[in-house]
């Protein structure tokens, strides 16, 4: 089985978005996602402002990388729309797709999982669920190492290595049984991990009703300015419709 690496998107430390409250970034991303329903002139205005924000915030590179990953899809769709409907429609759909694809990059390229957890708690997500998210994120590297270890151990036993399948109809029960030998130990290890984290959290008073977060998020001037600017751009673009 070919394997990749689980690597987190790098947080752009120098970005001014690092000082922005994650809730503001969530609002901005949702606003950009909602703007995809606008017609072309309004959408072009919103997209230009959004691109300016990405460049100013220093997150244009990860956003471009995200768009580059979907280049084939973009190209096929653009050509198909152009040939069948027209160039204006092709530009509109491509712009909408680009905006939808890159809108959440604001959050994921400038926010740490812990900050997102805090924002979730402030937005009413139960603290236990927010803690579960932080735990899941912290477990990624460990799970990857354990999964690779299981894979190598089973392959050393002659289990798990199989000739590459070329077509889905070659997928047989034996192949699934081979994957079972990989998944079962992973489940057992995951359970042991969850148990030890739970015990450690309980020992630190996680379930205490007196528990308080060590850091509280507050909206600052930069957040208000960004939210006002977004409202202004969206307002103007709606008037342009």
């Amino acid at each position: 089985m070919p394997r990749g690496d689980v690597r987190r998107l790098a947080v752009v430390e120098g970005s001014f978005l690092r000082r922005v409250d994650p809730r503001t970034k969530i609002a901005l991303s949702l606003a950009m996602s909602a703007a995809v329903t606008l017609p072309l002139p309004s959408l072009a205005l919103v997209a230009a402002c959004f691109a300016g924000l990405l460049v100013a915030a220093g997150v244009a590179r990860p956003a471009a990388a995200q768009l580059w990953r979907g280049r084939l899809w973009f190209a096929v769709l653009f050509l198909l729309d152009w040939c069948v409907v027209g160039i204006a429609f092709a530009v509109l759909i491509t712009l909408r797709l680009a905006l939808l694809t890159s809108s959440f990059m604001l959050i994921f390229a400038s926010t740490t999982p812990d900050e997102l957890r805090l924002a979730g708690e402030r937005l009413g997500v139960p603290p236990r669920l927010a803690f579960a998210f932080a735990t899941a994120f912290g477990s990624l590297g460990l799970m990857e190492r354990e999964w690779r270890g299981i894979l190598e151990a089973q392959q050393a036993r002659g289990i798990g290595s199989a000739p590459a399948m070329q077509r889905w109809w070659q997928l047989r029960r034996a192949d699934l049984a081979r994957v079972t030998a990989l998944v079962v130990p992973a489940i057992v290890l995951a359970t042991q991990r969850a148990w030890s984290i739970g015990e450690a959290a309980a020992a630190r008073g996680f379930e205490s009703p007196e528990r308080r977060s060590y850091r509280v998020l507050r909206l600052r001037a930069v957040d208000h300015a960004l939210l006002a600017a977004t409202a202004l751009v969206l307002g103007v673009s709606f008037l342009l419709r």
């Binding site: 998107l9 959440f104 192949d175 079972t180 984290i197 996680f206």
Partner: protein, 189 residues
């Protein structure tokens, strides 16, 4: 502290399952270059999560958490929103079938859910993932004809791999049951 729906252990177990889903999607892939093939391991893990924590919402929680993780890892070529929604929809699909099947089977006087239910749960989960992509594409205005043209083959492969993933989940649950895993788990709860 009042009683909560999921115990802390169950919630952490679901969180670690979410990490497994992302790692499985990135690091453990079947050597198939076909749309939806990641659903084999993915749906299996969702079905297993629902089997190990037999409460409505367990698979959805894994879906939501893994969607957030996947967005942070940068999985997917259509952005964070698509990733988050498709992962969550897959979990909700598995939850829906796993929650409704026992009721439906009991009403019909049939045997309790088994491998077939798991396979159908995997199928619905994998198709829900594809369904979110189609809905987002419809939302941004891609003509329906293009979608029918472009998504028919992926729908077929998602069906096959979803069924295979659900069935794999049933095989793993059976293996865990034979190994005494659920007795071990009961002692932990």
């Amino acid at each position: 502290m009042g009683r909560t729906y999921f115990s802390t252990f169950e919630l952490l177990l679901l969180a670690v399952f979410a990490a497994l889903v992302v790692v499985g999607n990135v690091a453990l892939r079947l050597p198939l270059k076909m749309p939806g093939h990641s659903g084999v391991v993915w749906m299996a893990l969702l079905v297993i999560a629902r089997g190990v924590v037999p409460k409505l919402g367990a698979a959805s929680s894994v879906g939501l958490l893994s969607g957030l993780l996947a967005a942070f890892v940068g999985v997917g070529d259509k952005g964070g929103l698509d990733t988050l929604l498709s992962y969550t929809a897959a979990g909700a699909g598995v939850d829906l079938v796993s929650g409704l099947a026992p009721l439906g089977l009991a009403a019909l006087g049939l045997a309790p859910p088994g491998a077939l239910t798991c396979a159908v749960a995997g199928l619905v989960g994998n198709l829900a993932k594809l369904g979110v992509k189609v809905l987002l594409e419809l939302w941004i205005g891609i003509p329906t004809g293009f979608l029918v043209l472009g998504r028919t083959y992926p729908a077929l492969t998602h069906t096959v791999f979803g069924l295979a993933g659900g069935y794999l989940g049933a095989l793993v649950l059976a293996a865990l049951r034979r190994a005494g895993f659920f007795a071990y788990l009961a002692a932990r709860r």
